[in-house]
Symmetry: C2
DNA sequence: TTCTGTGAATTTATTCACAGCA
DNA sequence: TGCTGTGAATAAATTCACAGAA
């Protein structure tokens, strides 16, 4: 029986939850490497990321056979493989739209740089901010999005503007050729399905918690 | 046949993904109410939040029968019910630990206030920041966490310190009686299971996107 | 008729449990 | 022996499809 064409180690497609866990594994590798571990078992990795060991093994096995039976996984190899899988071997070109409090924080936030991401251009509607340079990043006027994003070949955009303006900004970004968006505005964006969107709603994280706190208050009574 | 004891409209417990969607519905209600809609159907709500209509109905039905067959849901009623379910009818006492770039942004971030959350106290290790007041919120020294959190009866904490310090901060918070934590540090926190933790890793959102971008680059070739 | 509420069917994800290799 | 890789079993979430109320 002929095998189906397969470009990746596993031809079936990877479950979303698995992809969402990869960055967590990556953090764990850094931690283990820092503590001079050269090898980790699925059990250790599971412990460090609060996940079932079988789940860890299955997640990793989607991408190839990285482990050694009886031994475990080589931390360095796994770290390198995982970076490759997540596409972190190249420097992605990122833009930030909205330099309010949140935008400013994201611009200065060390976590992006540490993970290897660099913001190439920032945008804001406020004329008093335009022209400034912060953390080596020039702030442009929002109407310049189409031109600048296209010129700089920006691939990923972070939206940190009020919800009322988010869709318009997204339209411009898409028009300028952006391929993915992280949206911090609390609204759903409509974009062509070739463009990827991930929404991050900070307030909803708190609401998720208050749901459980409220529930435990109720059942306690 | 005797009915099983049931405190909530539905006695089975609510799926996690359902809870995660509730805040999204809440945003939609606000939007529909703003556009003078008094009634919405599951289809409209689904369209606005990018979810299957049957899913919307099932989600809402976990909490009671809020709709009218043939008509739809009353926006105001649903909004109010949803706020009650999420525990948003009371003002939760929140603390912020870490007033670096991200912490400062969260302190000033309008989204929390808009959702009805208010930060009562902030903490930082930097002595030059201690004593300042920002957005009406006093910044305390980090070692004061135990005392201030206890005195102010803080229930929820937001951690925005470097990963290396996050666990220590979490220990202090737990010790001071905090019941839930939103953790922005890219690490897993160990806390008693009575304490709720939600991790938000901003870099991992980007990594999630680069995974798909990288993959589409590969398959395009 | 329209649209909700919900069992049943389906799809998807997690966990188990063990064969196979170092 | 110890630990991976993975089919099989289980659990969970989503979607279908339709009965029932306005």
């Amino acid at each position: 029986m002929a095998k189906k064409t397969t470009s990746s180690p596993k031809h079936r497609n990877i479950p979303e939850p698995t992809i969402a866990r990869l960055p967590r594994y990556l953090r764990s590798f850094a931690e283990f490497a820092h503590n001079q571990h050269t090898v980790i078992s699925s059990k250790e990795l599971a412990g460090a990321s609060g996940i079932n060991p079988a789940q860890v093994r299955k997640d990793l096995a989607y991408f190839g056979q990285f482990g050694q039976r009886g031994i475990g996984y080589d931390v360095k190899t796994l770290d390198s493989k995982m970076r490759e899988i997540l596409g972190l071997h190249k420097a992605w070109r990122i833009a930030l739209v909205g330099c309010g409090n949140l935008g400013m924080a994201l611009l200065q936030y060390g976590g992006f740089a540490k993970a290897g991401f660099r913001i190439e251009a920032a945008f804001d509607v406020d004329p008093s901010k335009v022209g400034w340079e912060l953390e080596g990043v020039r702030i442009w006027a929002t109407p310049a999005i189409r031109q600048v994003v296209r010129e700089k070949k920006i691939e990923i955009a972070i939206i940190a503007v009020p919800a009322s303006q988010a869709q318009r900004v997204a339209d411009d970004l898409v028009d300028a050729g952006v391929r993915a968006i992280v949206n911090f505005a609390p609204c759903v964006l409509t974009v062509p399905k070739s463009v990827l969107v991930r929404g991050v709603d900070l307030a909803s994280e708190l609401e998720h918690l208050t749901y459980f706190l409220e529930k435990s208050n109720r059942t306690e009574k």
